[in-house]
Chain length 466, copies 2
């Protein structure tokens, strides 16, 4: 008789149609307990945080056969699915056949039943997806990525792949990684002793992108509404729970859109993503709420249910200055807000997400639309509880002369930006957009405290393992 086709545990648990049927499952053993007559195996196949209980009659299989079935082993089981009388599960599988795909030596396998510190798990990033916490985080990561694509697709945005390797360092958003095929043991030099990039792969110095926005604007000024979703890089030597050298960004850019439209989009977008998580990741969120952060679910629901506060930077500064809060960094008009300031506004003053607008132009990027006051630009940052800035965006300066003037004032190398400026020369249009750091979003949605724990293989200073 041909072997039954495997069914995922998620599907087995979800539908009553499997009860009293013969089924076949595969997965990794979380635990095996029992006595010399009967064994209970908690089996997990990654499709859900829930384990399937496998009931094994020792006499049928023999103690020797069952010995390698320890935590971490991988097995395939055929049997009848029955209604469970035990606590913690609705169904269980009465094993009639077991195949052991792979054992996991009890002495050597690092993921034994006892809990592990997140720090330790980072060192075994190749195995940590087999833990409850990381499988939950990675399933939520998937769900959020899908929700993002789904949101934009439904709204008629086009996904644009902006380049990862870039020849321009124009945005100046941060320190960059250099990309090269030159032999570092023997760097070719020109007659005046400089690096001879003629011999490099691209014939010039190239870097990893820090943002797809500038190229995204090219797309928006042709296709109307686009978004990027790709890796971005910062070579900053920041060893903090909030920084990665390699992270993923989502950057929508919309033609015929102003700062108001941009705020509406950002708020609707974030709420829609969190609503999606609440609807589609209930089991995983429940687990994280119980294990790591008892306020997680309440916080997510709160964001979905409340309007974001919108106010100009200047008013935010007033509130901060009039507060009796002691800040590490003093506040005055013109300063860049620190996390402590953002969190004060969000968590203590308004007790709601806040969109701060119209920042001083000197602390914002050259491409933001200048206000008539000559001092501020149409920036908008979305500030979230626990996270601070989760989204940064702006209406863009679409006026060629004003943009050129700002580029000149800031000494940005013009030669790198000829193509960007041309979009303002030929059929320019009002447009706006923003950037969402995907891992920042995941910190908020999962409640995890360290950004290294919401990406499968974190890249940080001195760390590019796996």
């Amino acid at each position: 008789m041909e072997k039954l086709k495997r069914t995922k545990i998620l599907d087995l648990i979800a539908s009553e149609s499997y009860v009293f049927q013969q089924v076949n499952v595969s997965g990794w053993v979380r635990t095996r307990r029992g006595n010399k007559h009967i064994s209970f195996i908690a089996l997990n196949d990654g499709s859900t945080i829930k384990n399937l209980q496998i009931v094994v009659d020792t006499a049928t299989f023999g103690e020797e056969f069952l010995k390698p079935i320890t935590t971490g082993a991988c097995i395939n089981v055929t049997g009848q699915l029955v209604v469970s009388e035990g606590k913690g599960q609705t169904v269980e599988l009465q094993a009639s056949e077991i195949e052991i795909y792979g054992s996991a030596d009890v002495e050597a396998y690092p993921l034994q039943k006892k809990g592990h510190s997140l720090e330790f798990l980072r060192e075994i990033a190749h195995l940590r997806p087999r833990t409850n916490t990381f499988s939950a985080v990675l399933r939520i990561r998937h769900a959020m990525a899908f929700a993002i694509h789904n949101y934009f697709n439904e709204k008629g945005f086009f996904y644009l792949h902006t380049p990862i390797i870039t020849g321009s360092d124009a945005e100046g958003a941060g320190a960059m990684f250099q990309v090269t095929t030159l032999d570092l043991n023997n760097v070719p030099k020109t007659v005046d002793g400089k690096v001879d990039y003629e011999n490099d792969f691209f014939g010039k110095s190239t870097n990893l992108t820090v943002s797809g926005q500038l190229e995204g604007e090219l797309g928006a000024l042709a296709l109307g509404s686009i978004y990027t979703f790709g890796p971005t890089f910062r070579a900053e030597n920041s060893n903090t729970p909030r920084h990665l050298a390699e992270f993923w960004m989502i950057e929508p850019e919309v033609a015929f859109s102003d700062i108001q439209d941009n705020m509406d989009l950002a708020e609707d977008f974030l709420k829609s993503l969190i609503r999606y998580a609440l609807e589609h990741c209930a089991d995983d969120l429940e687990f994280l709420n119980t294990m790591w952060d008892k306020e997680l679910l309440d916080r997510l629901k709160f964001v979905v249910e409340n309007d974001f506060v919108r106010l100009p930077y200047s008013e935010g500064i007033d509130i901060l200055m009039k507060s009796n809060e002691k800040f590490d960094f003093p506040v005055s008009w013109g300063v860049d807000l620190q996390s402590e300031h953002e969190r004060y506004l969000v968590e203590k003053h308004f007790k709601k997400p806040v969109i701060l607008t119209d920042y001083p132009k000197d602390i914002k990027a050259f491409y933001m639309k200048q206000n008539d006051d000559g001092k501020t630009v149409r920036a908008m940052d979305v500030l979230f509880p626990r996270i601070g800035e989760i989204i940064g965006g702006s209406q863009r300066e679409e006026n060629y002369d004003k943009l050129l003037q700002r580029i000149t004032e800031l000494n940005i190398p013009m030669k790198d930006l000829w193509w960007y400026l041309e979009t303002r020369k030929f059929g320019t249009a009002p447009h706006a957009g923003f950037g969402l750091g995907f891992e920042r979003l995941l910190l908020f949605v999962t409640g995890m405290g360290n950004i290294r724990d919401v990406i499968p293989f974190p890249r940080t200073p001195k760390n590019a393992e796996f």
Copy 2:
């Protein structure tokens, strides 16, 4: 009175509910023609390949006002949508208000009405999305990316972000780009004269990934079914219509899956994507079919409607050797198939897509599952008309000893692969997966002949502009 909210041209054309309504549109002028009494503007906003005809009464606006409305200018128009009596459109807009967002100097704007060569358009990649051809390609590119995410999400796969910067060169799939923060003008050296990577950002030599597969396997052996969709890089000095230095790859990896399941998945996946394109990109495909490739639609339908042929490499070699075809590269058992061979099998012999399996182990990667014959591995390549290999995959070697032996035979540096080997040590499982080059897929779906024309900003030797 507040200005009407803008409606996308795609929506205006799709629904009869806008007819005889006041509407507001924005977009770029494709052409303006007419006489001194009346102007017809073909307006495109990127949402669809179709233009909206704007009818402008010259007397209402004045000739001077209308002068800057030339090809490439960006305008906003309010007016009544009416049923059109002209050819080529069902509705048209009778303008009552026009705002000019940005003009496009006739002498300077490179995208005048006349057709342009694809080569010329590559040099103005910042503007080419404003052409019919590239906007069609980019909309199809979006649709295919979404279809991929949608397919896997529905099937319970989790999207896994494998790292872009990698410390290991283990897969050996091709020449790599180095990633560094060292000062190339002054590379630090150790006492024995070698590059001192201690001072590099990651404390060791790092590269851009050539494939996410090895990390993808880690995900599959915990979450069950995963897929990657991210940029990959090859520093090969190949200036051909089929090679990019930076391209996007999709790599599903499935635990508890063998080569048969893998072939079923690949065939179903490709058919489902092409079906999606036929259903969702009809206008754009129609345009490309008319303009560039009269057999495009027939070819797409043919793939959807026919079963792929499946046969072992050895039988494929037999067919090639018995054919009377003159090949540039001679055929015998053991050779790696060239594009001419693949296309002979697909286009001339079977006249269907072909999945070739069980290749000689010496021309395939170390991780493929070894067959009992000692000579072949459970590889499977999907060969397509016009494209040749569109998918390459295999069942993976899950046996620790066999895998280690192959790694040793091939002198692959063990130290880079300790984490990969551990998945075979702890709860190993049969698993399989494949890689699909996204741009290869797009060449097939769009009918374009050069891979540089299916990615927004191509990176090739000596070319990293924009």
